[in-house]
Amino acid sequence: MSRVALNFVDVHRHFGKKVALDGVSLTVKAGEVLGMIGRNGAGKTTALRLALGTLHPDSGTIRTLGFDTVSQGMAVRTRVSLLSEESALYEDLTVDEMISFAASLHPRWDDDLSDEFRERLHLDLSPKIKTLSRGDRAKVSLLLAVAARPQLLLLDDPTAGIDPLVRREVLEGILDAIPSEGGSVIYASHLIEDVERVADRVLVLDAGKIVLERSIEQLKHEARRVTAVFENSAPEIVHDAALGVRRRGRSFDAVALDRIDALAGTLRQAGARDVLVSPASLEDVLIACLREDASSGDREDVKEMSHV
């Protein structure tokens, strides 16, 4: 098996006039869990569908588990599971029938794993799919995705719209589903806290482009929140290192991943009375990156993510 689970090279894809992915290159190693963060419409779902091969790129190359997703689609789809909100569940089947049906389709299906997850997730076998709550549907989808024993598991916002208690159960199930040897996972979500628990590395997508890609550990190690207080209203400071700058009255607030001392120096030179450099959380960094990227356009929906 290939040591690289997924490789995108300069992948472009558009739908009509809308550019969904705009020159994305990325690599997921075997055994790695990649968190993918971005607003709705940032390109997360498109990237996952391209990886599975149910969608083909306009240009660029994609290799999933070493297979070409266009010419070797079947080989890819028997080894990769995608869990998404639109996961194909048959409304008229019972949970039990749905599981048996999925088992018959997957050559690598694992009955023991299926039973284990059914118990873990407290899933009742008898109700029909169409009567299930959103949380229970997510649990069924998770079970189907996991019991197929994929070498690459793609999760598209699996906890979206689920109440917090069930969300916790599903998240624990996902963590437990991550294969211990060699299997890889891409976890796309807009919930930063969940991504942080699940992922080793995080990638931020915005408007079809990767705006940040780093291991979570490295990010936390490097990222600093830089705040400054000025005598009068905070001046407009232009500095490459400052991401997601916010000025409110006398105070200045930004996140920096590097050249932190230089930024602090610039602020002091500009007359800052008090410059405070403190560790930044992952959320601080991601919100700052998205705000930075949106500042050219006029997009206020970054706030949506800071409130989750």
Partner: protein, 138 residues
């Protein structure tokens, strides 16, 4: 012991796990020979992925706080009990460093700071059981 880690904390999750173990050893809640959870158990309890749990165990091994015996599990190292005093001292040192950092930021002099510590430790509501050296007893 690991169920309430804080993803939003600037400290990476694996570091938070390491810190928990260190604190437990420092306080004597974990002692030499005690078994730690397996990577799978740890990942479940802490709600982190297994790579993160494995990183934490590796970091603890590197600090010689735990030893892994193949096929038997990971245990608090035999030397841990002797080190608990040292670990407690490191905790205190970090707290002092933090005080010094804030004092530095505010431009407070060393003398002023020492006076403040002295007067605070005598205030009734913060009065802590500091061990007094004999010559200090008035």
């Amino acid at each position: 012991m690991f169920s309430d880690l804080k993803p939003a904390d600037p400290l990476p999750l694996f570091r938070q796990i390491v810190e928990r173990v260190r604190q437990h050893v420092a306080r004597g809640a974990l002692r030499a020979g005690d078994r730690l959870p397996t990577i799978r158990e740890l990942a479940r309890e802490a709600r982190v992925n297994r790579n993160t749990a494995a990183r934490a165990i590796q970091a603890l091994e590197a600090e010689n706080l735990v030893v892994t015996r193949v096929g038997r599990g990971t245990f608090i190292a035999p030397t841990a009990d002797e080190r608990s005093a040292e670990l407690r001292r490191i905790d205190l040192q970090r707290a002092v460093d933090e005080v010094l950092r804030v004092a530095g930021e505010q431009g407070v002099s060393r003398k002023e700071l020492l006076r403040m510590i002295d007067s605070r430790s005598n205030e009734r509501h913060v009065k802590v059981a500091l061990v007094r050296q004999p010559e200090e007893v008035s």
